[in-house]
Amino acid sequence: MKLRFKIFIFTIFVLLLSINVIVSAITVDEIMDKMEEKAPDFTTQKTISEMILIDQKGKEEVREMIMFSRKGEDEKTSTLMRFLSPKSVKGVTLLNIDDGEKIYLYMPAYDKPRRIAGSSKQEEFMGTGLSYEDMSMDYKDKDYEKKLLEETDSEYIVKIMPSGEDVSYKKIILHIDKEKFYAKKVEFYNTNENLTKTLEINKIRIDENGKITPLEIEFTDIEKNKKTKIVIKEIEYNIELSSGFFSIRTLKKPTL
C-alpha cells in the first residue's frame, strides 16, 4: 500500500510540467526521472504484507493483508485490499477505484458494499492510523510545484507543493537517496505547515535490473503519536487480473 503510495507520488511528479528550479548540477526533473527509472515497471501488482500498528506505549497489533493494484491507461491506480487476520477483521475489504474517485468498504457482518463519501476520505480507516485518502493514494497530480531544496552528501531534499481545492497537505518533503534514487523519507505538512506525518522506507530490495522495491515502510502520525509499519512478505508484478476485478463485484467474493 505504502509502496504504491510512494510510487504514485513519484510517478505523478515526473509528469509535472511546472517550475524547475536548478540549484545543482542535476535538476529536480532529472531526479524524478531517475527515480521513475528505478521504480519497478508494472501495471498490476499483488502483495501480501503485515500491517503493524504501534500505539503510544509501543504496544503492537499485527494485521495481515492482501492487496491488488492496477495502473490504468490514464495513469490512475485502483487498489483492492483485504484483511486476512486477525479474525476480528478478517474479510474486511477496501476498494478504491481510479485514485480514490470511488471508495467502497465491505464488512462481512453487513455483507454489502458501503460506499464512502468522497469528502470522508480523510477519516481514519479501521484504526490503522491511515486515512481512506492515504490508502487510496488520492493525491491529484495537477499543477504540483516542486523544488530542489538542498543537496547533502547522501541525499537530495525536494519540496512538493500540492495545489487544488481538495489537498490535505501544504507541502511534502522528500529525502531522496543520492546513490540509489529512492525516497528514504517523506514528510507531510498540513495546511498550517505543521509536520503531521512521515513515511520512511526502512528496507528495500534491488532486483537484477536495478529496480527498487520497498520491503519495510514505516508511517508515523506525529499528531497522534502512532506508527504503522508495513512489512511486505510477498510481492508479484504484472499478474493477470480480470478487467472487472476492481469493482464491487470482487468485494463480495469470499476468495480472491
Binding site: P86, K90, A117, S119, S120, K226, F246, P254
Partner: protein, 409 residues
C-alpha cells in the same frame, strides 16, 4: 425436515472433510439478558462455524453453520444451517451465480431496510447486535453489463416465512384475542393455530449503477409478508372449554424499491444512505375489517458522519418501523453514535430511536472492550419509554441489561 437434515449433514461433511484445505473460521458468542420487566436472566450460547472451499478460481462453496443453545427458547438446542451454497464467479462471462441456502441483503441501510424481504428474521428484535437472518433456498444470478452497471435476479422456489416458536405464538395470539371475546362473554381456554403458507416462488430483480458521486439501484420484489396475518378466526366448543381456531396467512406483496448511497450534498464528510419502498399489498381482511388494502411507502434515510475527534454518528429518519405496515406506518428518528478512543480498547456506543408520533423511545447505551484482537465483551443497557400501547412502548420486553462476549477463531 428431511431437507434440513440433509443440509446439516452436508455442512458437517464439508467442515470435516476439508478442514485443512479451505478457509475455516468461526466465533463463539455468549449473550446474556437480564430482563427488567420479568426480572429474569436468560442465556444464549452461539457457535458459528464458517467454511469456504475453492474448487477453482471461479467456483467455490461456502457453509455457515450455527449451533445455538438458549435457555429462554422453547427449543433450547438448535442447529441452523445459515448458509450453504455453491458460487461461481465469471464461469459464464460477466455472470456471478450463487445457489443453495442463501442470505440476500438488499438495501443500503444497515438495519430496518424495507427492501430486504427475502430472508426470515428471528422473532425478537435486537437493539444491541446486528440482526441474524436465516438462509433460504434461493438462486442469486447477477449479470454485469460492465464495471458499474449490473442486473441481479433472486429466485426462491418457495416462500419461507419468519419463524416464531409455537408456544410463543400461541401466547401472543391468546393475549391479542382473549379480551375481544371476553367482551362478548366468551372465555377462550385454548388456541389452535394453523399456518397457510404459500408455496409459490418468490423473486426479485434489481438494476444497479454506480455514478460519479453516488450509487443507486431500483428493484422489484414479488413475494409475501414474512410475518403472519390472521386469516380466519373461529370459536370452537371443546370438552375443556372454548377453543379458538386461528388460521394464519401471508399476504402477497409487491415492492418497488429505490436505494442509494454516496456523498451527502452540502455536508462535507457525510455519506448519505437511503432505501425507499413503495409497497402494493394484497387486500387482507379479518372479521370484515381491512388490515391491508392500499399501497403505502416505507423508507429509511440516514447519514454517516465522523467528527474530527473520532465520534461516529449515524442519524436516520425511518418511515414505518419493522412491525408497521399499511396505514400503521409512522415516523421515527434514530441516532447511532460510537466513540473510538486513541490507544484504548474501550468503545462506548449509543443507539436511540424515538417515535415522532407518540414520543415513545428506545435507548441503548453500552460499551465494548477488546481484550485481544479476537476476544471482546460488550455490556449494554436498553430502556424503553412510553406506555404499553405506544409505538415503541410495546417492545418493553427488550428492556434490560445485556452482556455479550465474543471469541473469534
Amino acid at each position: 425436515m428431511k431437507k434440513n437434515i440433509f443440509l446439516v449433514i452436508f455442512i458437517i461433511l464439508l467442515f470435516s472433510a476439508s478442514a485443512n484445505a479451505g478457509d475455516f473460521s468461526g466465533s463463539l458468542t455468549y449473550s446474556g439478558q437480564y430482563s427488567l420487566s420479568e426480572q429474569k436472566l436468560s442465556n444464549t450460547l452461539n457457535l458459528d462455524l464458517n467454511y469456504i472451499h475453492s474448487f477453482t478460481d471461479e467456483v467455490f462453496a461456502e457453509g455457515d453453520l450455527v449451533l445455538k443453545y438458549s435457555d429462554r427458547s422453547f427449543m433450547p438446542f438448535t442447529i441452523i444451517p445459515k448458509e450453504i451454497y455453491l458460487g461461481a464467479y465469471d464461469l459464464i462471462p460477466q455472470v456471478d451465480i450463487r445457489a443453495g441456502k442463501l442470505i440476500v441483503n438488499w438495501g443500503s441501510a444497515d438495519i430496518l431496510s424495507p427492501l430486504d424481504n427475502f430472508n426470515p428474521l428471528p422473532p425478537r428484535m435486537s437493539f444491541t447486535t446486528i440482526p441474524q437472518k436465516n438462509g433460504v433456498l434461493a438462486s442469486d444470478i447477477t449479470y454485469y453489463f460492465n464495471d458499474i452497471t449490473y442486473l441481479q435476479a433472486i429466485v426462491l422456489p418457495s416462500f419461507v416465512p419468519s419463524y416464531m416458536p409455537e408456544k410463543y405464538e400461541e401466547q401472543m395470539y391468546l393475549s391479542m384475542f382473549t379480551p375481544q371475546f371476553q367482551a362478548q362473554g366468551i372465555e377462550i381456554s385454548s388456541i389452535n393455530i394453523t399456518h397457510n403458507t404459500p408455496e409459490n416462488p418468490v423473486w426479485g430483480i434489481k438494476l444497479g449503477r454506480s455514478f460519479t458521486s453516488f450509487d443507486a439501484a431500483i428493484s422489484y420484489y414479488n413475494g409475501y409478508y414474512l410475518n403472519a396475518y390472521p386469516e380466519s378466526i373461529q370459536v370452537v366448543p371443546e370438552p375443556s372449554g372454548m377453543s379458538l381456531d386461528l388460521g394464519l396467512g401471508y399476504p402477497k406483496k409487491d415492492v418497488l424499491g429505490l436505494e442509494f448511497q454516496g456523498d451527502f450534498p452540502g455536508i462535507e464528510g457525510a455519506t448519505l444512505r437511503g432505501d425507499l419502498a413503495y409497497i402494493i399489498p394484497q387486500t387482507w381482511q379479518v372479521q370484515g375489517e381491512d388490515m391491508l388494502k392500499d399501497s403505502y411507502l416505507k423508507a429509511v434515510i440516514g447519514a454517516d458522519y465522523t467528527t474530527s475527534f473520532d465520534l461516529y454518528l449515524n442519524i436516520g429518519f425511518i418511515w414505518g418501523f419493522a412491525f408497521e405496515e399499511g396505514d400503521q406506518c409512522s415516523p421515527y428518528i434514530s441516532l447511532n453514535a460510537r466513540k473510538d478512543f486513541e490507544d484504548s480498547k474501550f468503545t462506548p456506543n449509543y443507539l436511540g430511536i424515538i417515535s415522532l408520533q407518540d414520543r415513545s423511545m428506545i435507548n441503548s447505551i453500552g460499551a465494548s472492550y477488546d481484550f485481544t484482537d479476537n476476544f471482546s465483551i460488550t455490556l449494554s443497557y436498553v430502556s424503553v419509554s412510553g406506555d404499553q400501547t405506544s409505538k415503541l412502548g410495546q417492545l418493553r420486553s427488550a428492556e434490560g441489561l445485556y452482556l455479550m462476549g465474543e471469541w473469534s477463531f
